[in-house]
């Protein structure tokens, strides 16, 4: 039916790997940040909020470039990471994870923040009065009730990661088997005349992955809705 060439297969698996990792690493910070912004007022909140949105506002290429400035081997942080831990992010798939994670972070935070802000604070109070510590209350009440937002955030982040191009190619380049994700591969093909047929195949792969992910998340969502007693 649809036989994948090794290059296509590699791009697909890489895209999946990077997107999943990306969602994985921003999930916890995203929940924390969403909660912080939804439930707390503090000095500099607006600034933090603004900074969080920057990856969305700046052209992706610029974000990639800034990442390079910071985390490249010559970069301020990158140098340190390299010297201390022998970690190089630029030009490796880990860097791609970082880039896509950064690009999807605002989407994750915003969704979670939205859903946490819609939770009735009295339920948290009830939990506290039943003996739950602040932390325990967060994990047993706030977090479960924020699940719709967490799902939405994860879907948006996963989709965005799958499609991320600008920051990735700028920060980690376009190296086959290492950083050439589906969008990069597609880009490669449409840059040459006659590449369209190949690009189309890759496009179809992207779409299939995205639709599968959405179908899957749709199932989880329904479960969550039943579970949260909305249906």
């Amino acid at each position: 039916m649809f036989d994948l060439s090794p290059a296509e297969y590699s791009a697909m698996m890489l895209s999946l790997k990077i997107s999943l990792w990306s969602v994985g690493i921003i999930l916890i910070p995203g929940i924390f940040m969403g909660w912080l912004l939804a439930r707390h007022d503090f000095y500099g909140k607006s600034l933090l909020d603004g900074v969080l949105h920057l990856p969305l506002v700046l052209p992706p290429v610029v974000t990639g470039y800034l990442l390079l400035l910071l985390l490249g081997r010559q970069g301020f942080l990158g140098k340190w990471l390299y010297q201390q831990f022998d970690i190089t992010l630029a030009f490796s798939w880990k860097g791609a994870v970082l880039a896509t994670a950064l690009m999807s972070f605002p989407l994750m935070v915003r969704s979670i923040r939205l859903s946490i802000s819609m939770i009735d604070i009295k339920l948290e109070q009830a939990s506290r009065s039943l003996g739950a510590s602040a932390l325990n209350c967060f994990f047993t009440v706030t977090l479960p009730l924020a699940i719709p937002g967490i799902i939405t955030g994860s879907i948006l982040a996963f989709a965005r990661s799958l499609g991320e191009f600008g920051a990735t190619i700028t920060f980690v380049g376009n190296i086959e088997d290492e950083t050439r994700t589906l969008p990069l591969a597609i880009y490669t093909y449409i840059q040459v005349p006659d590449g369209d047929a190949f690009a189309q195949r890759l496009l179809v792969i992207s779409i299939v992955i995205a639709l599968s992910a959405l179908l899957f998340s749709g199932l989880i969502e329904k479960r969550a809705a039943t579970w949260l007693g909305k249906k």
Binding site: V61, Y65, L68, L69, G72, R73, Q74, G75, A90, F91, I169, T170, G173, N174, I175, Y187, T188, Y189, I190, Q191, V192, P193, G195
Partner: protein, 228 residues
């Protein structure tokens, strides 16, 4: 109003030329859209209202020619360029651009070039590397970038130990050392063709002529292009 579609790598020169032109010619206004040659070609293919197309490689001009979108008579070579090997400033790597040496042994780190599969500068670079017999060894170190600017950037920042870029780029950057120029015959000629499009307005001719004027040549040379 004349709309020029020009490869992004010519943007500083073309911008300046347009400015001059707009100042000297009152009744015609020139506007430019800069993007990669492939994007521009596809846009023209899709009916973009372009009058003049300056491509960074003959391939995309050929593509449009095949689609019968350009006036073949007006197609000519506007600029030429060279590709050079660069390193971050002060690395002092000495290498002769001959088969005897092996680049891979000399550089410790990545070699940045435009994506060798599709970015013109990458394609030229790959040809040259193959001609010089360096390709096989250096391949694992190659980082394909989106365009030549990205490659230059990476070298400037020291992220890559070396890079292959147009001499125009190397020329204007103070942060890199040009350590070798690839022999002209090691790759297909680097040509920026220009052509008027079939749908073009009449006034486009005037600007097309201006592009070949002495004034324009001065500007092109200022930014490192050759006009042969």
């Amino acid at each position: 109003k004349v709309l020029v579609y020009a490869a992004a790598s010519t943007s500083n020169a073309i911008t300046e030329i347009c400015k001059q032109f707009n100042q000297t010619t009152a009744d015609i206004k020139v506007k430019v859209s800069f993007a990669s040659s492939s994007t521009l070609a596809k846009q023209i293919d899709a009916g973009a209202p372009a009058d003049i197309f300056i491509s960074a490689s003959p391939k995309w001009m050929d593509y449009l020619q095949k689609q019968q979108l350009i006036i073949n008579d007006t197609r000519h070579q506007l600029l030429t360029n060279k590709i050079v090997l660069i390193t971050p400033k002060g690395q002092q790597i000495a290498i002769a651009m001959t088969k005897k040496h092996d680049l891979a042994a000399k550089i410790n780190g990545k070699l940045c070039l435009g994506d060798p599969d599709h970015v013109p500068v990458g394609i030229y670079a790959k040809q040259a590397l193959i001609t010089l017999g360096w390709w096989k060894n250096i391949k694992p170190q190659v980082v394909g970038t989106k365009d030549v600017r990205a490659a230059l950037n990476l070298v400037e920042r020291g992220e890559c130990a070396a890079g292959i870029v147009y001499s125009t780029d190397a020329y204007s950057s103070a942060k890199v050392d040009q350590i070798g120029e690839f022999p002209e015959h090691s790759h297909s000629p680097i040509i920026y063709p220009v052509s008027k499009l079939k749908a073009a307005k009449k006034s486009a001719d005037i600007f097309l002529k201006y592009l070949n004027s002495a004034a324009a040549t001065t500007v092109f040379n200022k930014y490192g292009f050759s006009t042969k």
